[in-house]
């Protein structure tokens, strides 16, 4: 690097640059949090949904599936599974049947464990997935397959 660019100039660039962008980031985070109520589907965040989220976490579903594209890539995306598997009318029956049928036991096929959830828990988990599908994701995923 040119000799005219001194170490103290480099240090100032580091200190000043990072402080500046940290402040901007904090500001944008505050703005994001302010805008979230219009986007994050919180009006449908019921007690059952919160319980469903807890079940989602306690059973480490994200260890195989992705949710809004985040998680593991071993099993299907579930952010839009509500729409993919029946929507308002058909999702819950499909979901309960699916969960209770695990593991499918097809040799060589990726296998999902049986989590032994009660009917009430399955309702809550389905409610959580329905709520997640209502978050404004800027139209992601590109199609119904997730």
């Amino acid at each position: 690097m040119a000799e005219r660019f001194t170490k103290s100039m480099a240090r100032n660039m580091y200190m000043g640059g990072s402080l500046f962008f940290i402040l901007i980031f904090v500001g944008l985070t505050m703005d994001t949090v302010r805008q979230m109520p219009d986007r994050d589907n919180r009006e449908n965040l019921t007690e059952a949904v919160a319980h469903g989220k807890k079940l989602w976490e306690d059973n480490n579903c994200v260890g195989c599936h992705s949710l809004l594209g985040e998680g593991a890539y071993f099993a299907p995306e579930l952010g839009n599974v509500f729409q993919r598997r029946g929507g308002e009318a058909g999702f819950k029956p499909f979901f309960k049947g699916w969960m209770n049928a695990q593991p499918l036991g097809i040799p060589g096929r990726r296998a999902m464990p049986q989590f032994n959830l009660s009917d009430e828990d399955l309702d809550a988990l389905a409610d959580f997935l329905e709520y997640a599908s209502g978050i404004n994701t800027n139209n992601w995923p590109p199609n119904i397959e997730g």
Binding site: K54, A111, W140, N143
Partner: protein, 463 residues
Amino acid sequence: MKYESQAVAMPYFIFALVLFVGQIVFGLVLGTQYVIGDFLFPEIPFNVARMVHTNLLIVWLLFGFMGAAYYMIPEEAETELHSPKLAWALFWIFAAAGTLTIIGYLAVPYATLAEITGNDLLPTMGREFLEMPTITKVGVVVVALGFLFNIGMTILKGRKTVVNLVLITGLIGLAVFFLFSFYNPENLALDKYFWWYVVHLWVEGVWELIMASILAYVLIKVTGVDREVIEKWLYVIIAMALISGILGTGHHFFWIGAPEYWLWLGSIFSAIEPIPFFMMTLFAFNMVNRRRREHPNRAATLWALGCAVMAFLGAGVWGFLHTLAPVNYYTHGSQITAAHGHMAFYGAYVMIVITIISYAMPVMRGRPNGNSNQAQVVEMWGFWLMTISMVFITLFLTGAGVLQVWLQRLPESGEALSFMATQDKIALFYWLRLISGIGFMAGLVVYLVSFFVGGEEPQLEKA
């Protein structure tokens, strides 16, 4: 070794490498499950193996960073470590907590682990990479505080070099951002938003400070280039890392509910994230070319150069490949992400930890000029086997990802293949990835064998 207390780094490095082996074993399990879906089911379901694989990675890198700090900071500060006893105590606490957590993952269903560790009181579990029980997280915070106190006191009483200041800034940042792992709102969008405060601001933020300072330290040692020059580079690199990386967090906010302006901000700032990595490559090669001495530990120099190159490729190039919002719309959460993740973590963080181990371990074992030539040759075989294998893992996952996007993401609804049907179509790439993974394991074994190769210590040559 200039100060006796630096030796406390040794158990940290050894344990890190032990966990590294565990990580790769479970990586092979996962790679097998990708092609033989019910392999080890139901004993070790995919999610359990994945949790072990990723958490072992994180924990062994933390062991590596701590070992690096215990080794570098006293020497840079020109004083003994504040308390070697504390460092030893924290080593055992962290090793025990980590081992118990892994055993917990493997021994009982995750839901049971959540229940017995009190996840109902403060739910923090079940989120990617932060799966460890809440009490383990508390343990990590305690260990981090003790560790920061120990190295902080050492820095305060000694010489304050730029390397030390940057390193401790990175480590403090690591501890501070980890605190966001305790924030887990019921609101999924907010949960995800602040989850990235841990994950992104670690690996694309403060960890880069740690990486750059370790690289700078090793380059000072092996090249003998004037400290002033190296420190100037270090400042510019970390300046660029934070200037690009902080708002670069926005590339994770595209599709999780955050406002649309993140599409622009995330794309623009993450597009400049490769620059600090490119500068690290320039930096490493420049310093080695301008070296004032021929350090006989050529293996350490190779790791330093390789780390800079692979970090640029994995984090820089493979990150840029899918970071622009219009591209990421199709690639988000596909095997492209997995390809990037593998090479970036290996290139940037695995290799930097091995770089400092390669430099420091021989010194701690009483060989200030490095291991014997025979041992170094074996170590370099390990380097090439692991690195080339990782290149292939990345290329095959990229191939799988491109096909996945082509079949599953690009067509309209109705035309697109389902997830599972797509996975069947790309199975060949997963087989090739698994074979590359076995190559990686072989490289790791060769690397570990190099620690046990004897021979005479090389002599210092004049440049």
